[in-house]
């Protein structure tokens, strides 16, 4: 008779192990794996009102997806948002982290202030920025008028709205990135810098030759997670752009479209297809980044 377990100890470990992971595994299966399968499944259906009368339509949702201009525009919008938000927020945060790392006076105060946007309720952030951007009564246009410039339709001009939405994203997330970078910076041994000074290196060289390479693992983590988060952007658009806003088509993100089709227009099948597209995009980009990791991330 073939023994299942080599020893009693192994058997015990098997039981304990599975007992320990059971809640999480069951949870993952019920909350994530099954829904994943269901969503894929539902993407092949046309949803009826009130969840009744779902009709199997095979690949029709996907066919519609590929010819739906709105979807592709939304994909472009999402990319634009990510391209602006991620690099800007990372560069600025990195810069601030480097400054704060130098034992500046009032460091904690600065750190608090820079992190404040992260703890504010997203709806509050969106509403106040919406008001600041308002083309008639907003503070920003008032300042422009005062200096003799014409007002700008910050978030209702289709050509530029996405940029200013992304800037709100940058503003919110700088503090978060900054803290991650600060932690990473503090891991860099001071001797490296001392040695570099002895070698006659200036600040800029020190930054590019020591700081950047050594912080690249943290940088990598931040870049990957921020890109994934930016691609899922929803809150900012939902709160700041109305249906009547002429810039809507040029700002709605893929997730916003998903929400619109699934929960406002009751087309859950189509919504499911949209979100599958998002999944593929995210997986592709993450895979790309994992591959590029070897090229630029420096691990000790």
């Amino acid at each position: 008779m073939k023994k299942l377990f080599a020893s009693k100890a192994e058997k015990n470990e098997f039981i304990s192990g599975w007992l320990f992971i059971l809640p999480t595994v069951v949870g993952l299966v019920v909350l994530n794996i099954i829904p994943l399968i269901k969503t894929i499944y539902e993407s092949f259906f046309k949803t009826g009102a009130f969840g009744k009368g779902n009709v199997f339509i095979g690949l029709d949702n996907y066919r519609r997806l590929f010819t739906d201009e709105e979807v592709w525009q939304a994909l472009i919008n999402t990319f634009k948002y990510a391209i602006i938000e991620v690099p800007l927020s990372i560069i600025i945060a990195m810069f601030i982290a480097v400054l704060l790392n130098k034992k500046v006076k009032g460091r904690t105060v600065y750190r608090t202030i820079y992190f404040l946007p992260m703890v504010a309720a997203p709806a509050a952030v969106a509403m106040v920025w919406r008001w600041l951007y308002n083309n008639e009564f907003g503070l920003l246009n008032y300042i422009r008028r005062v200096v003799g410039q014409n007002p700008v339709n910050w978030i209702s001009d289709p050509k530029i709205a996405i940029i200013f939405l992304a800037l709100v994203g940058v503003w919110s997330v700088i503090g978060y990135n900054m803290i991650l970078f600060l932690a990473g910076l503090q891991e860099i041994p001071k001797d490296y810098y001392e040695a570099a000074t002895i070698d006659g290196a200036g600040n800029i060289r020190k930054f590019f030759n020591i700081t950047l390479p050594l912080i690249s693992p943290t940088m990598f983590f931040v870049v990957v997670t921020r890109i994934i988060a930016a691609l899922q952007m929803f809150d900012v658009i939902y709160m700041m752009i109305d249906k009547s806003n002429p810039a809507l088509k040029k700002t709605q993100s893929l997730v916003y479209l998903f929400y619109k089709h699934s929960f406002i227009q009751s087309e859950k099948g189509y919504g499911a297809a949209i979100v599958m597209l998002l999944l593929v995009v995210i997986l592709l980009i993450t895979a790309l980044q994992m591959y590029a990791q070897k090229k630029w991330v420096h691990y000790e």
């Binding site: 009102a49 009130f50 008639e136 209702s156 109305d242 009547s244 002429p246 009751s266």
Partner: protein
């Protein structure tokens, strides 16, 4: 040490369970979710206009005094109201009594989500359907068989104007002889070149208090009477849309971007616009604003010089009940009360809205004697029911979106109208 740990774990778990249970209990009190509830007497009532809340609560207090049945009103803003209802309908948990609207009645009726009120109406001595505007009764009648809601109110559209601005420009106030041409002339004269004041602002998001009135008074239409074809490509309709767009085009209205970020009523309240066309549902909101109170008044809508017609679009909400309510009898009693002559009279007296029951609305205007609300009542002489069909929401949204490009000056009125008409016809064919 051990005991402490065990105790703290137990405490932790107890807290968790209590939180979870608390969460459940709070809501069980407020909704009819509890599957085992025998007669959970408190009715859940859903509406979307917070301006009507106080008045309706008062009316319901009267109902509770009379019958002992309690009811709770919940306000969900329009944008989320239908999502909320649909979620409830899908999960089998609709509110007991709620507002129904012409846009959505078809969907709810077709899927039998509403309580069929036909028999109850017939055997009721308080509800006489002939006392309500026929259009609205028909709105909530399905296939000439089932009456799914009882009319609650009617709304009309009128013209609000800023007296101070008219005085400053030396213009006579709008009167009953005004035509759309007079209207435009005034808008022109009331527009200041420095952009601090505009004559008129079209509401791009709402057809009923905007271009629909122009369309109908100029002899056009949105949908044919038999609801089988679209009339958006009718020459008069196109003419009306061109007229509406001309204000932005010729500079008598703020441009579209401004209108998209700021509602016309907020622009009026901040003294940027001389005239706006608004529905009677805005009255309470407007009159709670000091600036409007001191500077504005109401007049009849202008008529068309060519047809001589003066038209206001009108619509009416209905009170409906859920098909799955645990308290159909109580729900019906509430609806009956709200729609009875007394209930409707109260509604108007409290200034909530103009009531649907004939002859009860005259007092509505008394709530704000400072302005000429009689204009809204007078507009009742010339009304057209807000266009609807089984797929209203779809073609309406399409039309509103397409027209945005006309307001922005990107396409002509004719292009847009023809495109809207063809989409509408597609949809109407499928009905």
């Amino acid at each position: 040490m051990r005991i402490k740990k065990i105790l703290s774990m137990t405490l932790l778990v107890t807290i968790m369970l209590t939180f979870a249970a608390c969460g459940g209990k709070n809501t069980a009190d407020r909704t009819v979710k509890d599957n085992n509830s025998g007669s959970n007497d408190k009715l859940v009532v859903a509406i979307w206009d917070k301006n009507q809340l106080n008045g309706l609560e008062e009316i319901i207090d009267g109902f509770t005094k009379e019958t002992g049945i309690e009811a709770d009103i919940q306000v969900t803003p329009w944008d989320q109201y239908w999502t909320m209802l649909e979620a409830g309908a899908t999960g089998g948990q609709l509110p007991d009594v709620f507002w129904m609207h012409s846009n959505e009645i078809a969907k709810y009726a077709e899927y039998e989500m509403l309580l069929d009120l036909t028999d109850r109406i017939n055997s009721s001595d308080k509800i006489d359907l002939s006392k309500y505007p026929k259009d609205i009764v028909d709105l909530y009648n399905w296939n000439n068989e089932k009456q799914y809601a009882v009319p609650k109110d009617i709304d009309t559209i009128a013209l609000w104007y800023n007296k101070t601005m008219f005085d400053e420009a030396g213009l006579a106030y709008p009167n009953e002889d005004w035509t759309w041409d007079d209207f435009k002339e005034a808008a022109k004269k009331l527009t200041k070149s420095d952009g601090s004041q505009y004559g008129y602002a079209l509401n791009p998001g709402n057809n009923q208090d905007g271009w629909y009135n122009m369309i109908y008074s100029m002899g056009g239409a949105v949908i044919s009477d038999d609801k089988k074809t679209s009339k958006m490509d009718d020459t008069n309709t196109i003419k009306a849309i061109e007229f509406a767009a001309s204000f932005i085009k010729e500079g008598y209205s703020p441009n579209y971007e401004v209108l998209s970020e700021n509602s016309v009523d907020s622009l009026f309240k901040s003294g940027k616009i001389a005239m706006v066309i608004l529905g009677s549902w805005m009255v309470n909101d407007f009159m709670s604003n000091d600036y409007v109170k001191t500077n504005a008044d109401v007049a009849l809508l202008p008529k068309d010089a060519f047809t001589g017609r003066r038209i206001s679009l009108y619509n009416g909400l209905g009170w409906a009940a859920s098909a799955n309510t645990k308290n159909p009898d109580n729900a019906w009693k509430l609806i009956e009360y709200l729609c009875s002559k007394e209930g409707q009279q109260k509604q108007a007296d409290l200034g909530v809205t103009m009531s649907a029951y004939e002859g009860t609305s005259d007092n509505w205007k008394n709530l704000y004697p400072e302005v000429n609300l009689q204009a809204y009542l007078d507009m009742k002489e010339n009304i057209v029911i807000r266009p609807y069909s089984k797929s209203t929401v779809i073609w309406e949204n399409y039309a509103t979106e397409k027209l945005v490009d006309v307001w922005r000056g990107i396409i002509t009125a004719e292009e847009a109208c023809k495109s809207i008409a063809s989409r509408m016809n597609e949809l109407l064919k499928q009905e």
